[in-house]
């Protein structure tokens, strides 16, 4: 509790507070613009955080995460286009409601739902994280190895496209992560004689290439696509007590669904929104309203996707396992600031952990206030022609890739991974599992080999230790359940 209060006290000093406001504002704007995403802006900001204090950096990045998840609501409602993937379900009811002449109502419902989802999930984040960290400290290398396996399988299973394409993406990421010096033995692997690869592919060029550059290459192809849009009004944006009364069950249920799905390693706001929307429709008295401007649809989707943000922070700060692709970037931020993610983060760097927790709450409140006041103006930014946005994005990618190691080689790496990410998306291979595989594989390999050293070369504890066995069973079920389900049908 003391650490949390200290974190709040520090957050309300000028510089951290400014970073929080900046992060939320930039996140909302970027989230609102189709073609840009929270992942992109966080990846582009990562190199700039080198020069910041660790707590300030994480407050900024978490605030961007919160802002960008909510910002997607604006374009989903006004342009029939999710600004971020997490807003894809909001499109189904937000835009129809806006077309019926109620854009303010749709936006207002979404903003309030986002806020309440964030608050409920924050309470769970604050309550669950400390005890979970205490349990996680007792995890051995085999438990951590099994957990990383679950994360990889889960994100492969849930990402767009087939399970096998998701797994292929994940293992391509694993392969890329193995280039360079093997941490356990010092042997140089998969460099094929290129000395520049002895240190492996650095984090920022890979992430900027796969997440940002590849998206830019795809956006350029679609640059001429006409976008249907609705003008913004702020009428009826405020939720009344009656509205709360009508939607409180949906709000609470969706927040729990979003938080739980966010906690599951590797999955994020998009899946949370889908699950929550589907559940709300199944429980609705008039399910036919869904897809035609249903208030419950907007509430379910927006509550869950924002709840997933805080849910995903739980495994990140307690176990060092990213809860979503954006959490992978937060993990990268911890690594860049010489912090070791994992259960010991609570013990060794509590100021970092509680800065993240405090930042998540205050950012949620700031998001709510900024969006209520500034949505009409933010909406105008959505219509900035892409031709003006793409060159600066590429230049910032170059800077980000270069700044980490001061090597021009890294900008070529960034371009190479941009092309790889683009080709993967054309082959319907999702990029998310690649990033998870790339980040988790080194942890996974080190833990497995540490476990083998610890247990005299025996793999048996993988299945005899109950937590490790539970994770392996979960991974196996996730892998094989689609086929079992098919056979039953």
């Amino acid at each position: 509790m003391d650490h949390l209060l200290q974190a709040f006290a520090q957050l309300f000093t000028p510089l951290p507070f400014l970073f929080m406001l900046l992060g939320v504002s930039i996140g909302i704007v970027v989230g609102a613009i189709p073609g840009l995403s929270g992942g992109m802006v966080i990846a582009l900001t990562l190199p700039l955080t080198y020069f910041m204090k660790s707590t300030d950096a994480l407050i900024l990045l978490v605030s961007m995460y919160v802002g960008s998840t909510s910002g997607g609501l604006i374009s989903a409602t006004l342009m029939h286009m999710p600004g971020t993937p997490a807003a894809m379900m909001t499109v189904l009811d937000g835009f129809p409601m806006a077309k019926k002449g109620q854009p303010g109502r749709a936006l207002g419902l979404g903003i309030f739902a986002s806020f309440i989802g964030g608050i409920i999930s924050w309470l769970l984040l604050a309550l669950l994280s400390p005890p979970l960290a205490e349990v996680a400290v007792r995890f051995g290398p085999y438990e951590i190895f099994s957990m990383t396996l679950v994360a990889l399988v889960l994100i492969a299973a849930i990402s767009q496209g087939s399970l096998f394409r998701g797994l292929l993406s994940g293992f391509i990421g694993v392969a890329v992560s193995m280039v360079g010096v093997d941490r356990a033995s010092g042997a140089v692997r998969l460099t094929f004689g290129f000395e520049d690869l002895d240190t492996g592919f650095r984090l920022l060029p890979v992430v900027l290439g796969m997440l940002v550059m590849s998206q830019v290459l795809s956006d350029v192809i679609n640059i001429g696509q006409k976008i249907e849009r609705v003008e913004t009004t702020v009428r009826n944006m405020f939720m009344s007590a009656k509205d709360f009364g009508r939607h409180w069950v949906n709000l609470f249920r969706s927040a729990l669904i979003g938080t739980w799905i966010g906690i599951l390693p590797g999955i994020g706001g998009t899946t949370a929104a889908i699950a929550s929307y589907t559940t709300a429709r199944n429980f609705a008295r008039n399910p036919d309203e869904f897809g035609n401007g249903s208030e419950s649809g907007i509430v379910a989707a927006e509550t869950a996707n924002n709840a997933a943000v805080n849910g995903a922070l739980v495994p990140l700060i307690t176990l060092g396992i990213p809860g979503s692709v954006i959490d992978v970037l937060l993990l990268g931020a911890l690594i860049i600031h010489n912090l070791t993610p994992g259960p010991l983060l609570f013990t060794n760097s509590p100021e970092i952990v509680y800065a993240i927790i405090a930042g998540a709450l205050v950012a949620n409140v700031a998001m709510f206030l900024i969006m209520l006041v500034a949505t009409p103006w933010i909406a105008r930014l959505m219509y900035v022609p892409r031709g003006y946005l793409i060159p600066p994005i590429i230049v910032f990618c170059v800077l980000g890739a270069f700044a980490q190691g001061n090597r021009l080689f890294d900008i070529w790496v960034m371009l190479g991974f941009g092309v790889l990410g683009f080709l993967m998306s054309r082959a319907r291979i999702p990029v998310g599992p690649f990033i998870i595989g790339y980040i988790l594989a080194p942890i996974s390999e080190v833990q497995l080999r540490s476990g083998l050293m610890l247990y005299d070369g025996s793999f048996l504890p993988l299945i005899t230790r109950p937590v490790s066995l539970a994770f392996l069973v979960l991974a196996a079920l996730t892998l094989f359940w689609p086929f079992i389900g098919q056979r039953r049908r």
Binding site: G161, S162, I172, A175, A184, L399, G457
Partner: protein, 162 residues
């Protein structure tokens, strides 16, 4: 939408590329030292991953030929029925200009500031289909980007740029 045959060709190419990469990975693992402190050593993961990659690529390709429900992605390709024509020409321009931008810095033809200004100006014009109305905004945004970013990184963040 891609036709069935095009999907098979696309996945066949994918399978070949992944197979080549997997074989190279597997082959390079033989040059690694044997295990020392634990039984698997540095070669194990590259070999396992190579086998998994090859297996997954074959499964994806094989799914086109299996009877019954296809194990395939839910959506395929850009929907071309809306009358929208994808701008692959812009993609080629962007890629070409970006290559020139990087080469200019690599071979010290231009420093970061001027390379960025020229690149941003040219790319903005290309993305606006060389429209005359975009000339002035493109020039202004390029100059602000080149000088502004250079100043922030060198004077404020103390990062040496090319």
């Amino acid at each position: 939408m891609l036709q069935g045959r095009q999907k098979v060709v696309r996945d066949a190419i994918l399978c070949v590329v992944i197979a080549v990469a997997a074989i190279l990975m597997f082959w390079s693992s033989f040059a690694l030292p044997p295990p020392a402190l634990e039984p698997i050593g540095p070669a194990a993961f590259p070999r396992w991953v190579a086998i998994l990659l090859l297996g997954l690529a074959l499964i994806i390709l094989g799914s086109h030929f299996l009877p019954g429900k296809k194990i395939n992605s839910n959506s395929e390709g850009i929907d071309q029925d809306s009358g929208f024509i994808p701008r692959y020409d812009l993609l080629i321009w962007l890629f070409g200009l970006t290559l020139l931008y990087f080469l200019a810095m690599q071979y010290e033809v231009l420093g970061f500031r001027w390379a960025t200004i020229v690149y941003a100006f040219a790319l903005t014009l290309v993305l606006f289909d060389w429209a005359v109305r975009a000339l002035v905004p493109a020039a202004l945004s390029a100059i602000v980007l080149g000088y502004g970013v250079h100043w922030i990184f060198t004077r404020f963040l103390f990062v040496d740029l090319p």
